[in-house]
C-alpha cells in the first residue's frame, strides 16, 4: 500500500507548488466525493492538498455587482451572503439541493464542478448564470467558462497540477434572475434524473432580452443549450416561445438509460422541467417571487 501524505497550505502559491510536485496529489475541499472515492478505491492519491486553510478559498466576495466564490466555500455558507442569494438565487438553490445538510456543510461548488458528474446539481445553474472559473496551475492563471470544465463523466479539462480556485458570477442586470430545478423520485438526498438551470433577463415591457438554458443528467456532461435560450429571446415567454424552447431542449438531450430513468423519459422531462424553471426565473426577474 502506498503511503498518503496530507498538506494544508496557507497560500495559493504553496498549493500550486505542492500539486505541481506530485502528479497523483488530489485537492481536498469538502471531501464529500474524494473521501468516498478513496475509501472505495476509485481514487488512490499519494498526497492530499487541503485548500481550506487558504483564506480566499473559503470566502464569498461581492465587488461592483460581481461575485467571487472561493472553491472551498461550502454550499450552506453561500446562504449567509444575502447579496449573493438575491442576485443568483438559482445558483444558491442548486448548490443547496446537493445531499443533506451534513453534506452541504462541507460540499463545495468547486468540488461539484471538478467531480464532473453529468448529474451534478450546481453545474447547470452555474452554466445558465454565465459563470466562469479561475484556474491556477504551474503555468499560471486562466479563466474559463464553467461549461468548458467538465469534458466527460468524472473528467475535466484541467491539466496536471491545475486546480479551481474561484467561481465568478457576472453582474446581474436589472429585471434579471435565475432558477434551478431537478427531477428526482423523492424530495431530498437523491441524484438528478434531469436538472435544468435557466437565467433570464426581461425589458420593462416584460419581453425577454437574454436567456441561458443549461441541462444536467441528459448528456455525458452538463450542457448549455444556446438554441433554447434563443427561442425565448424577443418573446414574452408565451406558450409558443416556451414550446420552442422545450423543443430545443429535447433536441439537445443525449441521455442514457439507467436505473434512475430511461433516455426517453429524461428527454421528455427535460422539456417540462426547463419550462417550469424558466417560469420561476421570469417571476423572480419581475420581482414576483
Amino acid at each position: 500500500m502506498t503511503t498518503l501524505t496530507y498538506h494544508a497550505p496557507r497560500t495559493r502559491e504553496e498549493a500550486v507548488a505542492l500539486l505541481a510536485a506530485d502528479p497523483t496529489a488530489k485537492v481536498l475541499s469538502g471531501g464529500t466525493d474524494l473521501i468516498v472515492q478513496m475509501r472505495g478505491g476509485r481514487a488512490a492519491p499519494t498526497a492530499i492538498v487541503d485548500i481550506k486553510n487558504v483564506s480566499a478559498m473559503m470566502s464569498v466576495l461581492g465587488n461592483d455587482g460581481r461575485y467571487s466564490i472561493g472553491a472551498a466555500m461550502p454550499c450552506t455558507g453561500m446562504l449567509r451572503d444575502e447579496g449573493l442569494c438575491k442576485a443568483w438565487p438559482g445558483v444558491v438553490e442548486a448548490a443547496n439541493l446537493i445531499g443533506s445538510v451534513q453534506v452541504r456543510n462541507r460540499a463545495t461548488m468547486g468540488g461539484n464542478l471538478c467531480n464532473a458528474s453529468p448529474a451534478a446539481d450546481s453545474i447547470p445553474a452555474l452554466i445558465a448564470a454565465g459563470a466562469t472559473v479561475l484556474i491556477v496551475g504551474p503555468s499560471g492563471i486562466r479563466e474559463v467558462p464553467v461549461e468548458q470544465v467538465p469534458v466527460a463523466p468524472g473528467k475535466t479539462s484541467l491539466t496536471a497540477g491545475e486546480f479551481v480556485v474561484e467561481i465568478r458570477l457576472p453582474v446581474r442586470p436589472a429585471r434579471s434572475s435565475d432558477a434551478y430545478l431537478r427531477s428526482i423520485p423523492r424530495t431530498e438526498m437523491d441524484i438528478a434524473v434531469v436538472g435544468a438551470g435557466v437565467s433570464i433577463t426581461l425589458d420593462e415591457a416584460g419581453t425577454c432580452t437574454a436567456a441561458r438554458v443549461a441541462l444536467g443528467a441528459v448528456a455525458p456532461t452538463a450542457i448549455l443549450v444556446p438554441e433554447a435560450g434563443a427561442a425565448l429571446v424577443g418573446s414574452k415567454l408565451d406558450g409558443a416561445a416556451m414550446d420552442a424552447m422545450a423543443a430545443a431542449v429535447r433536441a439537445a438531450c443525449r441521455p442514457i438509460d439507467d436505473k434512475r430513468g430511461t433516455a426517453e423519459y429524461r428527454t421528455a422531462m427535460a422539456g417540462v422541467l426547463a419550462k417550469r424553471t424558466a417560469l420561476i426565473a421570469a417571476a423572480r426577474a419581475k420581482g414576483e417571487a
Binding site: T3, L4, T5, Y6, A8, L28, G30, G31, T32, I35, V36, M38, R39, G40, I48, D50, K52, P74, T76, G99, S100, V101, Q102, V103, N105, R106, T187, E188, M189
Partner: protein
C-alpha cells in the same frame, strides 16, 4: 510511516491523538478517543449515523479526515447530556419511543439538537428536510418527527421561563 499529531477540542475538553493521513474523524472518535456513540452506517455520507458538530456545523464524521480536526472544536452525542441530565431532545426520544434498534439515534440526536439551535420552532416539513440526511430503517420517522417537535416546544417553554425569571 510516522503518524500525524492532532490537537483538537472534543465536547469542550482538549483532546490529542495520532492518526494516519487517510483516517477519518469517525475512525479516530471511535478508535483512539473511545467515543463509540457516533456510528458507522454507510461510510459514504448517506446515512448520517456518524453526525457530529465540527466548529458548530453538523457534518458526517465519515467524510472528514481526522487531520482536519486540528485546532477545531468537535461535539459528539456523548456531550449532549449534561452529566446525568438528558437534553430535551434525548428525553423526548425516550418519551415518544422514537427509536427501535437505536443505531441511527446518536446521529438523529446531534442533528435534531443542531436544528433547534438555528430554528426553535420548526414545522413538520422543516424537521423532515433537516433530518433527510439521517436514515432510520426501524421507526418510519413519524415518532422521530414528533419527538423533535416536542423537544422544540419544551426548549421554547424553558427559554420563556428563563426570560420571565430574568
Amino acid at each position: 510511516m510516522s503518524k500525524i499529531a492532532v490537537s483538537t477540542t472534543v465536547n469542550g475538553d482538549p483532546a490529542e491523538f495520532l492518526c494516519d493521513a487517510g483516517e477519518t474523524l469517525l475512525d479516530v472518535l471511535r478508535g483512539s478517543l473511545g467515543l463509540t456513540g457516533s456510528k458507522e452506517g454507510c461510510a459514504s455520507g448517506d446515512c448520517g449515523a456518524c453526525t457530529v458538530m465540527l466548529n458548530s456545523q453538523m457534518v458526517c464524521s465519515c467524510l472528514v479526515l481526522a487531520v482536519e480536526a486540528e485546532g477545531k472544536s468537535i461535539a459528539t452525542v456523548e456531550g449532549v447530556a449534561e452529566g446525568s441530565v438528558l437534553h430535551p431532545v434525548q428525553r423526548q426520544f425516550l418519551e415518544h419511543g422514537a427509536l427501535q434498534c437505536g443505531f441511527c439515534t446518536p446521529g438523529f440526536i446531534v442533528a435534531a439538537k443542531a436544528l433547534l439551535e438555528v430554528n426553535p420552532d420548526p414545522d413538520e416539513t422543516e424537521i423532515r428536510y433537516w433530518l433527510a440526511g439521517n436514515l432510520c430503517r426501524c421507526t418510519g420517522y413519524d415518532k422521530i418527527v414528533r419527538a423533535v417537535s416536542a423537544a422544540a416546544a419544551e426548549l421554547r417553554q424553558d427559554s420563556k421561563a428563563q426570560r420571565s425569571a430574568a
